[in-house]
Symmetry: C3
Subunit: 198 residues, 3 copies
């Protein structure tokens, strides 16, 4: 389930009360912290750094539009500064910075009011999250979730049956989007939980 | 006219109520979205990437001080991270990300409290905005505006006789500044409106 | 002494009231404004750009982990985007952007809730600040301070006997940290005061 903003706001100080709850939890999918993109599996349909996908009707050309954009922790989302994959289904496999017992994940998308069309039809809709011990390991389904196009920019979801099992890798599988015919964009994806004892 | 902050704040959620209204509107002059700098016209007086202009008494050397800085969407303005041109008059021609019926423009400058002198005398004062179908087209004056050195960092201005005419290019002509004798700095410029149907 | 947040909040507008006071004062240790890193003195124990220090148990590899990170003005601190030095004692010598009569300094560290362990044991604890006319000059002790691991991310300290003497260089000497055995991390350091007349 998606957690509502107000659930955490009681404990926030003035400095932090306006920020989404995801900003108050450690993110184990941050590149600066040691996480990395392992695979995009479906990468044959998207060439990093080339203009094979158009965004808003223009070729993608922004220099940092690699999947790494998703884990680089941008606090302000700029339209087009996202990882785009062709079609509505795409996969991102991440090596987390540490082994983590995962309790929540967050998906961020550009706010609608910042989108040139006022719509975010390239946003992911239904998606799944899997945990893995390593990349050759069988993936364990951690949950099915839906990003709400009417909701906040940063949406945090609770892992339904959170366990103490620590995962080193996470796979994000996007199953559908909000209507864009050509591509789907991921602005940021975060993984929260409890770091396993070393 | 410059729009006052409180006019839009009633509709803002807690997350957004502290941000300037310009942050809640799409910006069609954003590089990440597909906009680009076409020309600076008066570029003979400013060499991009070299230290021919001094800022705060020092040569400009910051690696990103090109006119592109103006459309890169920095949410936090750092002193000196701006496009400086010699003198008080300068021009920037932008190709917008999409054809747009322009309703507002925003000019951002460093807040006074962040400036080493406590003054922002290098800020633009009077400026004009023109719309063009293409760069060879005759420019249509959209409005005369004044950036207020006592006002907020991000100042949004309404185009007086906004029409449904969609423009693909915008020219910003700075006519004066707030007193700096040597150069004028532009931190950010934004273009708002309604995207034309494709 | 460390200044409490509420002391300045009365004068803040809605836009600014949630930001730390350090954000409302000019920072003369900002690279974009002309400041630079002169020396780290103890640099034999840390090789910029190589992985000789581990962070959170992983080799440091983030491309910008040079001492310059400390003066680049990042508004959002990302875990690991800091300058790390081996051990608990380290020194950073900065050339300020202008000669300044120093009234305050600010040390920023990652908020605890963003740290993977929930602890910030790599944060500086006791530190000293010195002022110098130039780098060969004898250093004048401006104050002894303690960064509070339970406090806000950005902590601003008043120089006890602030004088009108203007300094061109500042030395930050970290004397201890909050418990990390291997390294200490500096996310940001700021210098505030009154710019000397040119
Ligand atoms: K979009
Ligand atoms: K200025
Ligand atoms: K830390």
């Amino acid at each position: 389930d998606r957690i509502q903003e107000h659930e955490l706001s009681a404990s926030g100080s003035c400095t932090d009360c306006n920020r989404p709850m995801a900003d108050k939890m450690a993110d184990f999918a941050l590149e600066s912290q040691g996480a990395s993109v392992v695979s995009t599996r479906c990468s044959e349909t998207y060439s990093i750094g080339t203009a094979c996908v158009t965004l808003f009707g223009f070729p993608l050309w922004y220099p940092s539009e690699s999947p790494r954009t998703v884990i680089q922790g941008y606090a302000v989302l700029l339209p087009g500064r996202c990882w785009a994959f062709r079609g509505v289904q795409g996969t991102l496999v991440l090596a987390l910075s540490h082994p983590v017992a995962i309790s929540h994940v967050t998906l961020d998308h550009l706010p609608r009011y910042s989108a040139p069309t006022g719509r975010i039809d390239s946003a992911p809709r239904d998606f799944q999250v899997y945990g893995m011990q390593d990349t050759l390991d069988e993936a364990t389904l951690l949950g099915n979730f839906t990003y709400d196009q009417e909701g906040e920019s940063a949406q945090t979801f609770t892992i339904p049956e959170s366990s103490s099992m620590a995962y080193r890798h996470v796979e994000l599988r996007v199953l559908s989007n909000w209507g864009h015919m050509t591509y789907t964009c991921i602005y940021r994806f975060r993984v929260h939980g409890k770091m396993a004892d070393a």
